[in-house]
Symmetry: C2
Subunit: 202 residues, 2 copies
């Protein structure tokens, strides 16, 4: 399962190992160094501190989303936004532990700038573009917050939510009646439904 120490260490191999550890909820400078066959202090040759590693990871992950779907995809601007958003959600939900970092470093990184520029191409009003970003990143953040690693398939996660859901029907009648829909809050269908509604208003 685990690979041995890397042959040659560089910025990229440090990030590779850091992402694996972050996914496992065990990203410490000491664990990272050990995995690379180094002493903790050696890491400071590659990054100034731990936060810089996490920021670089966030930008790199954002870069794995397929921007072509937004820039050169088929269909209307709204359809291209939906396609890109679905892809971004898929990419980020592979690494839920990294999502809070992306929220934090959201718009400082070089990749984030490109995404923002392309989004303004599809949706020229910046207020509208930001509303979409808020919805997409907010959805992913809420979903990631309750997801462990490794990420279970969506159907399983929804079933687990449904099974764990128990509220007093007398105190919370509407919530109790909506249990099925609430369990499906983390579904692709809910994500798409909300996004399409939001886009229809912009």
């Amino acid at each position: 399962m685990k690979r041995g120490p890397q042959r040659s260490v560089n910025t990229e191999t440090v990030l590779d190992a850091a992402l694996e550890l972050l996914d496992a909820g065990a990203l410490t400078m000491r664990a990272l160094a050990a995995r690379l066959g180094l002493t903790p202090g050696a890491l400071y040759t590659y990054f100034p501190d731990r936060a810089a590693i996490v920021t670089a990871l966030a930008d790199r992950l954002l870069g794995q989303a397929n921007l072509d779907l937004l820039e050169h995809g088929g269909g209307s601007p709204a359809e291209r936004i939906v396609a890109f958003a679905l892809n971004l959600r898929e990419v980020l939900m592979r690494h839920p532990a990294a999502v809070p970092a992306i929220l934090g470093a959201a718009f400082n990184g070089p990749v984030a700038l490109r995404v923002g520029e392309s989004l303004l191409g599809a949706l020229p009003d910046p207020r509208a573009a930001y509303t979409v970003m808020v919805y997409v990143l907010g959805s992913i953040a809420l979903e990631a917050a309750e997801t462990g690693s490794p990420v279970a398939p969506e159907a399983e996660r929804i079933a687990a939510r449904r099974a764990a859901f128990a509220v007093d029907p007398a105190a919370f009648p509407r919530t109790h009646a909506a249990a099925d829909a609430i369990a499906a809050y983390v579904s692709t269908e809910q994500f798409r439904w909300g996004l399409e509604r939001v886009l229809s208003a912009l």
Copy 2:
């Protein structure tokens, strides 16, 4: 500025001190104990671990929002949702360091259940209600992520964003042209504008 150790320690006084430390970005069990005139181990009489303190803090903060605005306020359901959302944003933005915890513990706490139930009263379709929650919590999370403590007034934060904003106009023409609007992403006006658009589609 700082108060001395509390006279009598209980769950509430622990949370009071914990919130002050969280705001200062310095919530450690040792600092918390010291502020209460205790030894670190004594804290485990009140809470099972650090995470439980943060969760309790998140629920308590959510409880400071005025739910009456949503349940018994005047105007249409949409107007009541806007009024409550503005109030919630104000309450949470007083403690930006606590916001990630609220995102995480969003819907486990007792107060969160009450908020959800009331929201379903104003917006009976659960998919629509969740879309609103995503927008509101997403907005607040993005805003909180870039805010230090203590929180500067909104006008100052926007001016600082505008002053710090510099992108290559050749590489990012649309982003460059939208600089003023982008600086105002964290404004109350942007928050309200987006929320009203979202509500209009639901």
